[in-house]
């Protein structure tokens, strides 16, 4: 066990962590933040995407102990966040989810894409979503939602 200090969704905690615990397992099993989903546990599906010091990472391939001193934001932490609320609304309106299992990871990724590409084209969105698996939707709604959410967020800034 290693005492680790980290900030999760704005709350700073210190906790004994078993080194073998992935960040995803730590969040889900020890912090009960079950909005972060596990679809593969080997970095290949994106369901577990969270933000680590402001960048997207796959929490199944991060060790919780390696997050010492770092800031983690999960889908639960975005519940009252401006850009995410806009993105959520566009996901809803564009039918960007069916079973909803990929949705939290998709949203985290969508926000990151929009932050890096304020005006993302269809092909940019597609290539940035590479490796982010949705088994249900065929991606059409997700792509449309990211495109239109980006537009709304951009318009709000201008």
């Amino acid at each position: 066990m290693t005492v680790t200090h980290l900030t999760i969704n704005g709350e700073t905690i210190s906790q004994d962590i078993n080194p073998r615990e992935s960040l995803a397992d730590f969040l889900r099993e020890r912090r009960n933040l079950t909005g972060t989903h596990l679809g593969c546990e080997h970095g290949a599906c994106g369901a577990c995407t969270v933000s680590l010091d402001g960048m997207v990472v796959r929490s199944c391939v991060v060790l919780a102990v390696m997050c010492e001193g770092r800031k983690i934001e999960t889908i639960e932490g975005t519940r009252k966040s401006e850009p995410m609320d806009v993105i959520r609304r566009h996901f809803h309106e564009k039918h960007a989810l069916q079973c909803g299992f990929c949705t939290p990871g998709m949203l985290m990724m969508a926000r990151d894409i929009i932050a890096r590409y304020p005006e993302p084209s269809d092909s940019v969105i597609r290539s940035q979503l590479s490796g982010q698996i949705c088994r249900c939707t065929g991606y059409a709604g997700i792509i449309a939602a990211i495109e239109s959410a980006a537009r709304e967020i951009r318009d709000a800034v201008e």
Partner: protein, 783 residues
């Protein structure tokens, strides 16, 4: 709630989904999110041997009481699975290995620990010693006499040999054109993004076993689990919480569910097993795996007369409850003539046991293979005759004037305009423009091709069809309970399960239409056997027809009651009142439903004397003719293929489809596009191969290729609407159709791209290697 099409009329409105909110907030509850105090994790030790007689299973020292083998589970009744046919060989599939293991990944022992990691530590130390037996890997070889068998006493490895025939195939023996071809649709996983999972415990207060399971059909699973464990059914409660996709793969009673439930009754604390992706790819339901070898008989004009041949379905090592693998073979054979006016059919089917993971249903069940085979064969025939494949289809397709049309496969195509849909996609992809582009050639050396495929999708089939299939369980109806609460809002309990299909929204639309209230006033409840009326679950594109019908019927009975009470309260004759916009109206006067609901529930003294109190109706529904109604469509794809590397890019994808009346067009389009994405996976990426020793080769998403956004093109859809005569509102099921035609469509496009050299595309997935090799073979290069 917003609607694209305006409120008021709910049937046909693209209402945004009620179920989105919890998912968007990350607040849904999937089985892995269920928290029961004291719960411990289970990891399974699995066989690494493909076929062996079990000599011993050793538990690691010090963990004897944490490891369960079959003997520790107590009495288990292995249910007979598969059709009730004397010719079908049933075999027991024990939840943990008995005296034999028959595929790599078969469950051997269950290990319990406070965390999954520790459970895996134990599982890793469980030692299975076995005496290796010959491995059966090839379904065609496996039924040759004298070979090794999986089961003692079997003469060959077939679960069943059965012939599907009609017409008189001998009468076309002298047809001028006879073309023999072989096609293979390889094995794949179902791969919902949420894997399977089970949480089980004994609830002392209710004195019952509670099983949370990521399943498509909780009521059937309750029946299966109770039977297997020898429990009375009222002592078993199955809850499907949020389910992260199913696609057929979560609709079988699997060994893990039984083992976990059995252990929960023995170990004294809640237990959970969450399938990991490797377990999923190795040991969850596998799908497809068809091999076709048949001859088409035709006239010189291109009219196809008959089809004769064989179908091998590699069913894996066991038959899964309830339906078993024969459904795959019989459906494939019956769908092999496609939507064509073929009059003679003779298909010998062989459903074969091999040392692989048991086969189960996957979106499209059987038909993607059949569609691949017939649609590819139609293109090949067109090539042989020097005809355009579209023209050949025009000549053979069932016409609108032929409806209802009895196919030689025994299916009754009810309504639609198949040739019209074909012309629509030809128009959508602009065929002449593609032909012109092909003449010019591509500057990057790639080849462009266009392909078409037609499919039908049987849905809404009930008692007649399932008894014809000799099914052990006959999903002939669905039920719904509609309960209006004292304030006029509504709970509807249904026996189907929503796992992405938007049924919490579309069923609310159906009820809103009958009850004259807004769908936001209605909550759909499903997934808990203690809270919902019996139902079979969501599969076979049946939920909108059956459950929609049951909801509509129960709602309409309730609506009658509301009108009656409303008329009484308005002191008007019941014939003169209408129910709409949240009120009962009599001329200019009206009374809100909330008033009626209050009277009906808590103010019985206000009711007319001939109306019983209570506003709860349960009704069941089955369409009047339960042979099924048929959605259909035509797909078209334009692809670019690199002849050297074999990499394929889809440039354009178009669909013209008809699923009758659409309750919610937005959801319909979502189902079509999602289905096509899965079909593209089957066509180009997904495969679960085995090596000759029975070792599965695709065990992670590093080897098992799941299509992502760059792999799925934009999909253009045009709708035809030919309402079914037989169902409420004329709806037809359509959940699977998207997945049926893409392999055929894309293979036809590839074969078009290389038509000049005659490269053959006869096997899925058409990976870069297979495409490159097909081209090399046609060019006479080294393969």
């Amino acid at each position: 709630m917003n609607s694209h099409d305006g409120p008021g009329r709910w049937i046909g409105a693209s209402l945004l989904r009620k179920e989105d909110r919890r998912h968007l907030l990350g607040a849904s509850t999937f089985v892995a999110d269920v928290r029961i105090p004291g719960m411990q994790d289970i990891a399974f030790a699995r066989s690494q041997l493909a076929h062996a007689r079990v000599v011993s299973i050793e538990k690691p020292q010090g963990f004897e009481n944490k490891v369960y083998t079959l003997a520790d589970l107590g009495e288990i009744r292995c249910l007979d699975a598969g059709p009730e046919l004397a010719t079908f060989r049933t075999v027991p599939y024990p939840p943990l290995a008995g005296d034999r293991v028959r595929f790599v990944g078969q469950t051997v022992a269950a290990c319990i620990a406070p965390t999954r990691a520790e459970a895996e530590d134990i599982a890793q130390e469980v030692l299975l010693t076995g005496e290796n037996l010959p491995v059966v890997i090839d379904a065609v070889e496996a039924i040759k006499p004298g070979g090794a068998t999986l089961f003692d006493g079997w003469q060959d490895n077939a679960f069943i040999h059965a012939t599907i025939a009609d017409g008189d195939i001998a009468s076309v023996a002298n047809a001028p054109i006879q073309m023999r071809r072989q096609f293979k649709m390889n094995r794949q996983a179902t791969a919902p993004l949420e894997t399977r999972g089970v949480v089980a415990y004994w609830d002392e207060r209710l004195d019952e076993l509670v099983v949370y399971s990521s399943t498509q059909g909780p009521h059937l699973m309750r029946f299966g689990i109770a039977q297997t464990l020898g429990l009375p059914e009222h002592k078993v409660r199955v809850i499907a919480p949020d389910v992260g996709g199913g696609f057929g793969g979560k609709n079988r009673l699997m060994p893990e569910e039984i083992a976990v439930a059995a252990i929960a009754m023995k170990c004294g604390h809640p237990v959970r097993w969450i399938e990991d992706r490797r377990e999923h790819l190795i040991a969850s339901v596998h799908a497809r795996d068809h091999y076709y070898d048949f001859t088409l008989y035709a006239e010189n004009t291109g009219r196809v007369l008959g089809l004769k041949g064989e179908l091998f379905v590699d069913a894996g090592a066991y038959s899964l409850w309830p339906s078993g693998p024969y459904m795959e073979s019989s459906m494939a054979a019956r769908n092999l003539p496609g939507p064509y006016r073929i009059e003679h059919l003779h298909v010998e089917t062989h459903t074969v046991a091999t040392n692989k993971t048991p086969l189960g249903p996957y979106r499209g069940v059987a038909r993607p293979g059949a569609c691949f085979a017939i649609e590819r064969a139609m293109d090949e025939l067109a090539h042989e005759l020097g005809m355009d494949p579209v023209e050949l289809r025009r000549i053979n397709l069932v016409r609108a004037t032929d409806m209802p049309y009895h196919t030689i496969g025994g299916l009754i195509l009810d309504t639609g305009d198949y040739p019209g849909a074909l012309e629509a996609v030809v128009d959508m992809v602009d065929l002449p423009a593609i032909r012109a582009r092909q003449k010019q050639g591509e500057s990057d050396g790639r080849r462009i091709g266009v392909g078409f495929a037609v499919y039908t999708e049987q849905s809404g089939h009930g008692t007649i069809e399932w008894t014809k299939r000799k099914s052990r369980v006959v999903p002939g109806y669905e039920s719904a309970t509609v309960r209006m609460l004292p304030d006029g809002t509504v709970h509807i309990m249904v026996g189907i399960l929503n796992h992405g299909q938007g049924l919490e929204t579309s069923l609310a639309q159906v009820a809103a239409h009958e009850l004259g209230i807004d769908p936001s006033q209605i909550s759909i409840r499903h997934g808990d056997t203690n809270a919902t009326p019996f139902g079979f679950g969501t599969f076979a594109s049946r939920s909108i027809v059956f459950s929609g019908g049951a909801v509509a019927r129960a709602s309409s009975i309730l609506a009658d009651k509301l009108r009656k009470i409303g008329a009484h309260l308005l002191q008007s004759p019941v014939e003169s009142v209408t129910l709409r916009d949240g009120a009962v109206h009599a001329g200019a006067a009206s009374i809100p439903i909330s008033e009626i609901a209050r009277a009906g529930n808590i103010r019985p003294e206000m009711l007319p004397t001939d109306v019983a109190p209570g506003l709860e109706i349960t009704a069941t529904y089955e369409p009047p003719d339960s042979g099924g109604v048929f959605s259909y469509g035509v797909h078209a794809a334009v692809v670019a293929a690199d002849p050297d590397t074999g990499v394929v890019e889809i440039l354009q994808y178009a669909v013209a489809e008809d699923c009758g009346t659409m309750i919610n067009p937005m959801i319909v389009d979502g189902q079509i596009i999602g289905g096509i994405a899965q079909g593209i996976g089957t066509a180009l990426y997904e495969e679960s191969p085995y090596d000759p020793s029975g070792e599965p080769l695709a065990t992670t998403f590093g080897d098992y290729m799941m299509p992502c956004a760059p792999e799925i093109p934009r999909i253009d859809i045009r709708h035809f609407v030919s309402p079914a005569h037989n169902t409420l509102h004329g709806v037809k099921g359509m959940g699977e159709g998207g997945a049926i035609a893409p392999p055929a469509t894309i293979a036809n496009a590839l074969s078009d791209a290389f038509r000049d050299i005659g490269a053959k595309f006869a096997e899925t997935p058409m990976t870069p290697r297979r495409v490159s090799e097909a081209v090399a073979r046609a060019r006479g290069d080294a393969v």
